[in-house]
Structure formats: C-alpha cells, structure tokens
Symmetry: C2
Subunit: 624 residues, 2 copies
C-alpha cells in the first residue's frame, strides 16, 4: 500500500491534483498517528486536511530549514486538538519523520504532544484551550507589522465550536480595529462539536455576518473544493485587510464510516476501521512539500537600547507603588524590546507613563483582558518583552490565558494594581483578593509585591530580565518611601526594615501591610515589645532563610496580607517554615470576610489586618 | 433650591415633561451622592439618566414594596460604576431615603456600596467587573422564561466600553440563540471610556451590526430624546425577540462643564462645580415614581421533589469519579430546583446523565465558560440551584465570574473534571493544575475532591445543600471504589482508610493520589513500615483535627497532590498544622514541572507523585 516517494517536493506550482494527493496523505497520517497513539482527534483533522494542503503548498511562506527566520509566516492551530493534522503537515514538510509520527505521538517524553506546544520549533504558542490561538495570532500579527515591519503573515486555523468563546470576538475586534492585513483566520466549519451539532451548524453566512460586523473581511467557501480554497486564500492574503475564510467542511471527511457522524469527536479509529480508512484514502503516501519561501531581505534592526535611568525617590516621600511602576516602566522603555499593553485602565495602573514616552510600543486593547494577555503572548513569541497591566481583580478574567502562557513557555511581565481592601470605597468588585493565589499557582511564575516606590522601581526593572511569567502587585494609595534609591531587591529576597537583638516577635507584611506592620511595631515598642519587621516583597520565590531565622530568633510570627487567606503570603510563609520543620507561634491575618466600601483605614481594620490587629495578634502570641 | 414634593408619584401615565423632571432629579442626586462621598462616577450616571427615567416610569414592571415578587422585572446595572444613578432611582422609588443617599453612599458599613451588590433587596447580582451584568441577565431571563414561565423581563444597562469584553458577545449569542424575548439590553453609548474615546465612539450602527449578527434585534436611538427612548423601549418589550437598545448619549449630560469631556471618568465633581451643576439642572427635586406593576397571578408552582435515590457502588469496582458525579447529579435532579449547565463537554464531565433525565433543566452554553457561570449565577438569583461543569482547567476561563459570584452571594455548585496530570495523553492544556488554588481562594467557598465513586456520589448530593460556591474536583480515569454505599462524608471531614497503632508515617492524598497513597502504604508495609493513609476529600474546610492527630501520632506526613504546589492540598494541610503549632517531618509532593503527554502512570511518576515517590518520601522522612 506504500507509494513511491516522488522525485521532488511539491511546490507552489504543484497542480491541484497533487495537492489533493497531499491532502489525502495528511488524512492518512492523521488517522495512522491517532490510531497508533490510541487517542487523539482524527475526525477534526480530516475536515481541515484540504484547507491545510492548499495552504502549505501554495500560500504559507515558510522556510522549514530555518524556523527562526523572522520573515516566515506563522501557522497557529487554534483548534489544537487537530494536532494529528499539524504533525502530518510537519511530516510532509520533512521536519518530522514517519517513524516519529507513528511511534511517538502523544507518548511520554515526546515532542509530538497531544496538543501542540513550542517544544516544537515550528509551533509559536501552545493551544488546546479553545478560543485562544486566534487571540495569540492577533498579537503575533501586531508585532510583525507594527514593531518589526516584517512581511510575515499569520494564518490561524480555528474550529467552529470555539467561535462560541467570547475571546474569539475580542480577537476579531482587534484584528478589525488595527486593520491587520497580515492576519488570516481559516475557520473549519465542520458542523460538529464534542457533544453534537454546533450552535450555527453549517451556516457560514451567519459566521460571515459576525466577522464582518467586527471589521474583518469574510470569505465563505467549500472547504473541500481545492480550487475554491486556493482562490479564497489568495484573496485573504492580498494585503487588503484582516480576513476570515469560513470553510464549510465535513468532519471525518474522506472516511465514509465516520464522516459527518456524531459520536466520533476525540476518538481514534479502531485498528480495523483505520485500515479501511487508509485504504479508502488511497493508502500511505510519501509526498513532501516545499511551499513558498518567505521574502528575502534582512529584518529591520531593532534600535540600540538607551540607558535605563530609573527614578529615585526621597525617603519618606508618599508615593503609590502603581505610580512608581508606571515611571519605572517608562524608564525601562529605553530597552527597545519592551512593549506595554493596557486594557483601558492605563491612567489607573500608570502604564500611561510608558505610553507618553513610547506610544509606538504601547497597545491599547480596551476592556478585553483576555486579548490583552493573548497579544502579550503573541508579541513575546516574536521576541518582544511585554508588560501587561490591569487591576489585579481583572487579571482573573485572563486566568486561562495566563495558565496557557506558561505552557507556551512565554516570558512576560504582568502587573495587577488596586490590590486588596486597601482600595477603599470602590468595593469588592474592584479589589484583587485572589491574585496572589492565582499567580503563585502559575507554572514557573515569579510573584513580587513591593511595599514602597523604591522597591517597586527596582522590581519593575528586574522583571525585564526574569524568565517566564512574572507578576508585580501594586497598591492604589500613596505610602512613605522606605528604602534609599541604591538599595537592591533581589528576587527571592526580603528586607528587614526593623530588627534588634531583643526581638520577640516578627511581623511579616508586604505592600500595604508592610506599612501596617511598621506601625504595629511602633505600637508594640510603646509597650516595650521589640518587634522585627520583614518586608516580603518577593512572594514567589520566598526568602525562606530570613523567615526561618526570624522564626528561630523571635519564636513568633504575625503574617498580615491584604488577600484572602488561601494561596497567598501566609501560606507561602507557612510552607517555607514547614519545609524547615519550624512551627513558631504564628498568627495569619488575612481578609476572611466579604468587604464593602469604606476608607482604607476602616477596611484594613475591619478585615483584621490593620496595625492594631497586628499588634494585638503579636501580643497574644507572646503571652501564649 | 428644594422643590415641593408632588402630591402623587409619577406613574406610567406621567407626561414626558414629568419624566424629564425625574431624569434631572436622577442627575442631581447622582452628582450630590458622589460629591458627598468624594468618589464615584457621576458622569457615567448623567449619560444614562434619561434612559433610566423613561424605563422606571413607563416600562419597568416592579413592585417596589415586594422586591421578592417573582413577576417583577429585573434591572441589572452591567455598568455597575453608575451606582449613583441606580441609587438615585431607588430614592425616586421611595425605597432609599435622601439622607441615606447623601450620607452613606460608599461609606463604611453602608449598603449603598461603590458598586451594587445584593445586600440591597432590589439588586439581583453584584456588578462592577464589566461585561458581566449582561451575561447574568441572560441567565435570569432563561430561568424566568424556561424554568418558571414567569412574565418577568430583564432589563440590563450596559456601558459602551464594556462592549469590548468577549463575554458580552457570549451573552448576545445566547440571548439570540434562545430567542429571549424577555431580555432587553440598553447600551449607554456615551463615547468615552476611562482613558478616552471608546473603540467605536458614537457609531451606534456598528454596534447594531454586531448585535444583529449575534441574533438579537438592535434599535438605535438618541438616548436623550425621551419620546424616542420611550418608543424604543416599547418596541424592545414587545415580546418579539431579544433586543439591544443602542442609545447615543453624552457622558456628563446636563452639566456643561464636564459634558463630553475627557478626564472626568470616575471623578466626583468638586463641591463648587457640583453646586453649579445642581443649579444648572434645576435644583433638588423630590419626585417619586411608581411605574407599572408586575402582572398579577400566582407563579407556576414548582413540582414536588421526588426521592433522591443515589447510585450505590460495589467495593473494588472501577469507577471514575466524573462518572459517579454524573449519575449522582441525575439522581439529585429529583429535586426540581436543581439545574445543570454545560459548556459542550457534558459527555466528558458526565453531566449528560442529567440531560437525559431532565432535559428541560439542562442548559447547553456551548464552549463559553464565562456565560455558563454567568447563567448559573442568574438562575441562582431566581432561586434555582445550579450545577455547572467543565474541565477543571477551563474553569479558569471563568475565574472573574466565579470571583464576582461570591460578591453576589451566589449559591452554586461547580465541578471541574480532568484534573491534574492523571488525564494522560492530552497534555498540559487540558490538565487542571491550578483549580484548587483558584477555588480555595474564592470567598466562602467549599472545595471537595473525592477519591472514589461512593464519596463522589455523597459529595455531589451534599452540594445541593451547601451555601455559597462549592466545587467538586473529579478525575478522568476509573479507580476502585473504596467505601461502602452507606458511608458518610461530612464536609470538613476526612477518611482514614488505613491506620494502625504502629503507624510511623501518614500519607495524605485525595483523588488519584489517594490511590497512590494506598499503593505506597502497601509498598511500605512490605518493608515493615506502617503507614496511615488519610483521604482528604474535603480540601476546604480541611479536617485539621485528623491531620493534627496524624502528625502527633505518626510524626511524619507525606502530602501528595495532582496540582501545582501552590494553593492546593499541601498548603491547606500545612496551614492547618501550623495553626496548631505542629511541625511534623513533612514532604509535599506536587506537580512542579511542566508536564507533557504520556500514560497516567508515566505522568504521575514523572511528576513525583506516584506510589513509588510517595513511598520513597515516607522512607526518607522516617530515616531523618
């Protein structure tokens, strides 16, 4: 059943008969790979095989020998579960062998994972959480066009089920708004989702109306008519505007026993059925493809970095950390790889300081936090260093994107402002009280929470060199500068702004509670109690050594945090101590109730995390 | 400047001149309330005052004396920051006094919070995170129409900035799909967001195209032309289909010094400007309003509850907890208040078992997790008991909605399936590894993680009586039933399936790691080491007593969890022990790396949470 390898790879001049053969090969390989693995999504691959065969032969400008070529087009599988098809394409491109495809797909330790990730050099972003790939594609397209003047285009293959995700419409909205002519979505409208028919079935005109209403061009096409698909992709790539190709397809196309049938989502074909399918598809082929090459020409070089001159603050000066973040960000902008993204709160988070200095590297995504994070991930995939900021509370809107960014091995800096009850009158909807738990649990993350302008400045700058996803938590109100401008704040460190040989208790705070701890130490001092104060500006990694020393030397710790008790500073401290088998007397003060409105002082006190509560807790520990 | 109180309240027959006076009163009160509070969003209130004056006088069918009347219309302020306007309406309705409005708004302990919450009897859901109110409204409308045959309508006031949120389009999509004729969105298109002009400015036609593309009717109107607004709302409420009234308005309307000016978002008017504004608006008024009453007639009574007959499982039988969840859910469906929501993975989470038994109480939101949670919140607001389920990983998509549901004091049950590396070949995009951290940090939540079918059954049933937001974590694979059918599983409890007087170590697991702990105990027993095993099926609240006893009696604990190390079971255990000043030798095994594909056994082992790793960790602790 094995055909002879052809003498030369299919190129852009290949006839559609040859493209058809390629499509059949992609189908055969999708079936074989998933059946051999015993899991996967062959039917979702079969529907899009014709689309991808035309794309890779005639339209995708890609140097398979040099995946890092910045002029390469991008191909994002937003429907990441169609990984058998993607990997079959890689086999056709000659970068993955037949053996690897058939014996390692979905196996332990293999790079051909169940859903694509950037462990593969031809994959820019991890997908598998639906509605995300298209949003990353917008970020890649923005970076390519607006930051690099690159000729690259971004092709993204979407499923029809994922059109129900709001994030998809945030993406089309931004593609339309920015007139991203280098952005082409191909929607595989195969009518069937995981559980049965999709909302809109084969109504490609309904999709077209939505796409057009969001400012993009829509082309409807029979996704199995190769000539029509070729024409559609030609128009889509004509540089005249962002486009969605809405392709009516048949799930399971080419395998009559499963085509257009319910109940076959995410199921490999049993071996006997797979054999019949492969035979029916004309057997195994060994076609290889070399489609269009990317345009020649050196990329526009990035301007040289200027000196980063960080602002300096006077001790005692009242400055909000969010303000210090904004000013530091503007300074860090001297590094040309730095880009900043806002979700229309830049005058609150203070990213507007960066916008004023570097408007060409500032991206307004409006109130669309998912797209803000996705655009950051896309820009990072092209080598930029994004900072994205909104209220800490509203970063939860993008939790799934942040989680997936870690799977994409993305390096980016996030900032959440307006944390905790400290914000006061606006009330609980605006209070970040879960963000530390969320961000600590992100794979490979760094979590920073400065208490003053000097540390906020240093940590904002440090984030530009941290790998992975780093998070800075900032505070709404202005508090005194505690540290001199030349103080250093290593990630994983802490400060001990107050200590003495006679300390009998340690007060651990960060952000606003650091100031409350310092005030509590004053209250305790008036009672003759010597309290140490630790500034835990690095929440992850946490300075276990300093905490352990404090536990040993003072025997009692009060940890106060403007956050819910779970997953935040208290638990970080407790696990650090427990890892060293230390069980000092410990009081963990956190926001356990549901706050309302009020002044900062009222709300801190009501939540039990104010100076008086900290001092009381310390006294109670010492008396025990 | 204070006018006389009129002799009788404005009713539906009030002339538009009187409605105009009411609108001016709402403006004056919005200005006065926010200026007195020193914070708030007067300009965002001024733009919508005419819309709301027409609505409450002539269209909103609401019995202000009986907010619990199930025939009442609903009014949701999706633009929750316009709370001054909402509270001014409450004053006009006579349910909030002038004194309360002017002296308590945004103050500590007051019910007139910065953003509306259901501490007020006329508020159904908390808003303030944009793009959410409209999504809750869809759930309320669905419940009113499809579960209760209630004549109630749902009016939702949206801002134009929030139209950038994808969740808004999930909501319009569902309103359109379900032809929710009782759903009317009023969009206050005032052109200005927080930072400047919105994406679409005053292009109400562009909004109309989007709304219509998503299957709803669109009516564009001058939002300050009372007669036109009245006509628009009349058409919108004609019962012919879901409608959006797209009202072109002026931010700050009525106060010439701020009208249509940038830089006035979220800023109260200074006292002198407020005085001029009030004078310019014609001074303080004391109009009261009694608009249309809700239709008379008793609500359709809920059918009587049938007996809940839970499935029973044989000891040792291999059953997935997700399967047990589905079957238990179908049984719990005998309680007619239970409704179930799916995001098109019901054949994976097993909510399809409920669908088969009670299709009329099963809601398919397709792949739109935000809308799934929002619909659940909306249904809960009308007294139903929703269960909503998807993959644990994809619940992160709705984190902001879950967070806000707690502010809404919502009671609902969530289920996250496919947790952890246990799922195997699908890879990290599908693995819930952050869900425990997310759900533990939700205010007032309960977090449950059964290890077998019997406990999954009992806990699924228990959730129907738990207050607040409860979460059940289920596992993909089938594992042996450990408990007899009559075993009880109190929330906050634990089980100790293996214990003895000579135990020198305790192995703490839940879900799949419970089975690994049991197997590890066998391995250790072969070495003559007696290990206790604790099944921590209740992660929050956690059984601190049993853990403390285990720590005291065995001196060493291994905690193994299929989750990232932060915010999950390990930290719950550590904080429980630390609160009792216990520092046993403790090993915390969790998923620290970034997993790929593989078999369950391979991935558990690679993550260091398999039986062999647990046994090794136990041996190492004992040797210390």
């Amino acid at each position: 059943m094995t055909a002879q390898a052809p003498t030369r790879p299919l190129g852009p001049d290949a006839g559609l008969d040859q493209v058809f053969e390629l499509a059949q090969q992609l189908r055969v390989d999708s079936v074989r790979a998933s059946t051999s693995a015993g899991s996967g999504h062959p039917t979702s691959s079969l529907s899009a095989a014709d689309l991808m065969a035309v794309l890779m032969t005639r339209h995708l400008r890609y140097d398979w020998d040099e995946p890092g070529n910045p002029a390469n087009d991008h191909l994002v599988f937003s429907k990441g579960h169609a990984s058998p098809l993607l990997y079959a394409m890689f086999r056709a491109a000659g970068v993955v062998g037949e053996d690897e495809l058939l014996t390692t797909y979905r196996r332990f330790g293999a790079r051909l994972e169940g859903h694509p990730t950037p462990v593969l050099p031809w994959v820019d972003v991890a997908t598998g959480s639906l509605g995300q790939g298209i949003a990353y594609a917008v970020g890649i397209a923005l970076a390519g066009r607006d930051l690099e003047a690159s000729p690259c285009r971004v092709w993204v293959l979407c499923g029809d089920s994922e059109m129900a995700e709001g994030s998809v419409w945030e993406a089309f909205d931004k593609a339309g708004r920015h007139r991203l002519a280098n952005f082409i979505a191909i929607v595989d409208v195969n009518r069937l989702g995981q559980c049965g028919p999709t909302e809109l079935g084969w109504d490609t005109e309904a999709y077209a109306r939505r796409v057009e209403a969001f400012g993009c061009r829509a082309i409807t096409v029979d996704g199995h008519d190769l000539e029509a698909v070729d024409r559609a992709l030609t128009v889509a790539a004509d540089g005249q505007g962002p486009t969605a190709v809405l392709a009516r397809t048949v799930k399971g196309r080419g395998v009559s026993e499963v085509a257009d049938q319910e109940g076959w989502h995410g199921k490999p074909l049993p071996a006997d059925l797979a054999d019949r399918a492969v035979a029916g598809l004309g057997g195994v082929r060994h076609l290889s493809v070399r489609g269009p090459r990317p345009p020649d020409g050196a990329p526009v070089p990035r301007p040289a970095a200027g000196p980063v001159e960080l602002p300096r603050y006077e001790l005692g000066e009242a400055v909000a950390t969010r303000s210090a973040f904004g000013k530091a960000l503007a300074a860090v902008g001297a590094r040309p790889e730095v880009v900043v993204l806002d979700a229309e709160v830049g005058n609150s988070t203070h990213t507007q300081d960066f916008e004023k200095a570097y408007p060409e590297r500032y991206f307004q995504t409006y109130i669309a936090e998912q797209q803000m994070i996705a655009a950051a991930v896309g820009m990072a995939a092209r080598g930029h260093r994004p900072y994205a900021a909104t209220f800490a509370a509203f970063l939860t809107r993008a939790h799934d994107f942040i989680r997936m960014a870690a799977v994409s091995r993305t390096t980016m800096a996030l900032c959440g402002s307006h944390c905790g009850v400290e914000i006061g009158a606006d009330g609980p909807s605006q209070m970040g009280l879960e963000d530390l738990a969320m961000m600590r649990a992100v794979h490979g993350s760094t979590v920073l929470y400065p208490g003053d302008a000097t540390s906020a400045t240093a940590l904002t700058a440090a984030m530009a060199d941290l790998p992975g996803i780093s998070y800075l938590r900032t505070t709404r109100g202005a508090y005194p500068v505690l540290y001199a401008p030349d103080e250093v704040f290593p990630v994983g460190g802490s400060k001990t702004p107050r200590r003495g040989d006679q300390d009998t208790v340690t007060l651990v705070g960060a952000g606003v509670t650091l100031h409350e701890c310092l005030a509590a130490a004053d209250l305790l001092a008036a009672d003759g109690i010597h309290a140490r104060v630790v500034d835990l500006y690095s929440v992850k990694p946490v300075d276990a050594g300093t905490l352990a020393r404090a536990a040993r030397e003072t025997g009692a710790l009060v940890v106060a945090e403007d956050h819910h008790p779970e997953g935040g500073i208290g638990e970080a401290v407790q696990s650090a101590l427990m890892a060293r088998r230390l069980a000092p007397a410990l009081a963990h003060l956190a926001v356990t109730g549901l706050p309302g409105s009020g002044t900062t002082a009222e709300l801190l006190d009501d939540a039990g995390i104010s100076r008086t509560h900290i001092a009381e807790a310390a006294r109670a520990l010492i008396q025990k």
